[in-house]
Amino acid sequence: MSVEQMTTTGVPAEPYVTADGRQIGNVLMEMKNITLRFGGVVAISDISFDIREGEIRAIIGPNGAGKSSMLNVISGFYVPTEGEVWFRGSKRPQMKPYQVAQQGLARTFQNIALFKGMSTLDNIMTGRMTRMKTNMLQQAMWWGKAQKEEGEHREAVEKIIDFLEIQAIRKTPVGRLPYGLQKRVELGRALAAEPDILLLDEPMAGMNVEEKEDMSRFILDVNDEFGTTIALIEHDMGVVMDLSDRVVVMDYGRKIGDGTPDEVRNNQEVIDAYLGVEHD
């Protein structure tokens, strides 16, 4: 593909450098003209954008703009009425959410969706579900392979526990943990899958400033250390503008802006959507 070829989003398909000097990598995932309708309600109408390797991509917009619906389309929970999802250069056929997970996507939820009866450790271990290979018979006997596999995955999970600084609550049932820690465990569970793309649905909702700072640091570290591509939805504009490399702005199911935080901040349509428009 030559540099001249453009993607549907109007930016080069090849890696490029933005006006403010950010390195933007190859296209990892691309939404092509996604439309999602529920009966007569149009949740998303004709939206296209891409997610590039190694970037932090934010999706913002006022309440009811269709951000969460977009994330649900990406994670395979909703099937778009029209449009295509391309992943790693090929069109993704219609698949179940667990198959999407196996392809290398992991996500967190706006309202925490942890397994409340299980310990922190078990929750994060469940995140590695897609990487477990032993069959039921081997597990029933708990011989050699099953035990070895458990040990190996435990090691990987312990690294995540260290990374997120939650060693002390390893064996605590997550139902008993405070909100901020639950959010952190949920991030851990998503990280455990070692995803290519990590989807975060309002990772900082309901947090105080200190917790937000912690969470921001974790998100940046994940992006830096593991090179994970991140797509996130967030309401806190300060956080979004500081964290993300590129931003998609949605309003009433339409895309009204796409670009670096600076570009988006100066986009008239975006300003109108957030601050309101004068009607004469």
């Binding site: 959410p97 667990y98 997970a101 409340k116 469940t126 579900m129 032993t134 597990q139 458990e150």
Partner: protein, 358 residues
């Protein structure tokens, strides 16, 4: 004082993952096993075997089975009695069709047959949840009992409509039929319970168990992190039915010897096993054992106190027994909704700190 984990360090993940990570627990576990295998068989008599130990062991297997489905995977089932009947009739058909094969294989085979039937009746769980699923499994209960009454092939066209266990031996000792020694009945049930409980523990602590619990706690999130809900639910139904089927087969062949399906495997049985896991503790192997022991022992104990101790007439005692057991269950559920397993856990926490709780 005596219950300490100080100095008990785990340096590998394998150590940390043990079923009994505290040394004291581990030793107690081996002591219990040693007594169960090495002492009780020599002391047991017919009364203790038939009234207490054999029903306890068999119900414990059924309770573990149902706990896998309901406690671990969150799928409520009222079809336990029906699945026990499948195990019993499968065992009977296998025993009479292949008399030269060891009964052990018949029992295991009965488990597999029940697993298949369980998967079949588990299919609705992919679409419906909670109470609605309970009603669907209730249909399984009534259908299966009806089937075994209606189709003479299942009871080999016998005139009475009953099935009778012929005499079968293991290592030369009779384990079914009228000439069975008390200890032989006890031993075969104990061996099955021990092995099955060990398998249940292994399954529930690994990937399979986590996928069941994930489905139980938050099925949408489970699916999104890569749990195949179809697989998780159907394996839970299969494993659960396997256990329940073996329990049914043992109940018929070793414990009762002769069975009329409506009486032995009616809806009462489904509720009894469900109460066992609720009282014992959902999502706990130990809870299954504790619940089975509680509901098997309590009536025996009450009977001994009321009839033997206070000299009441048997019919009044029988009614009082129902009232007391029912009342106790209600009190119990209000006081400790998480069951005996939770009480046990709290007790252990207290003991760890005793006598200096602060």
């Amino acid at each position: 004082m005596f219950y300490r984990e100080a100095g008990d360090f785990h340096t590998t993940y394998k150590d940390d993952n043990q079923t009994f990570p505290i040394k004291f627990d581990r030793i107690r576990y081996y002591v219990v096993l040693a007594v169960a295998f090495g002492v009780i068989p020599f002391l047991i008599n017919d009364y203790w075997a038939n009234a207490v130990f054999v029903p306890f062991l068999i119900y414990a297997i059924a309770a573990i089975g149902l706990n896998i489905l309901t406690g671990y995977c969150g799928q409520v089932s009222l079809g336990t009695g029906g699945f026990m009947a499948v195990g019993a009739y499968a065992c009977y058909k296998l025993m009479t069709a292949f008399p030269e094969v060891s009964i052990v294989f018949h029992l295991i085979g009965a488990g597999f047959v029940t697993a298949g039937v369980g998967v079949l009746f588990g299919l609705p769980s992919l679409r419906i949840k909670g109470f609605y699923l309970a009603v669907a499994t209730l249909a399984a209960q009534f259908f299966l009992v009806w089937l075994f009454n209606k189709v003479p092939w299942f009871y080999n066209y016998s005139a009475s409509g009953q099935i009778n266990a012929p005499e079968r031996t293991v290592f030369g000792m009779a384990v079914t039929g009228p000439n069975t020694e008390a200890w032989a009945k006890y031993m075969i049930c104990l061996v099955f319970l021990t092995v099955l409980a060990w398998i249940a523990r292994n399954l529930t602590r690994g990937t399979v168990g986590r996928s069941w619990m994930a489905i139980r706690d938050m099925d949408i999130a489970a699916e999104i992190i890569g749990v195949n809900p179809l697989r998780a639910k159907l394996t839970a139904f299969a494993v659960s039915s396997f256990f329940v089927g073996i329990a049914g087969a043992l109940f018929f062949s070793v414990y009762l010897g002769a069975v009329e399906v409506g009486e032995a495997f009616g809806i009462n049985k489904s509720f009894l096993v469900l109460f066992m896991i609720i009282i014992g503790g959902l999502g706990s192997i130990f809870g299954s054992l504790a619940g089975a022991a509680f509901l098997v022992l309590l009536p025996v104990l009450l009977k001994n106190i009321l009839v033997g101790g206070l000299g009441w007439p048997i019919d009044i005692a029988a009614h009082m027994e129902l009232i007391i057991v029912g009342g106790l269950i209600v009190v119990f559920l209000i006081a400790e909704p998480h069951g005996l397993a939770q009480l046990w856990k709290i007790g252990k926490e207290k003991l760890r700190l005793w006598p200096f709780p602060h």
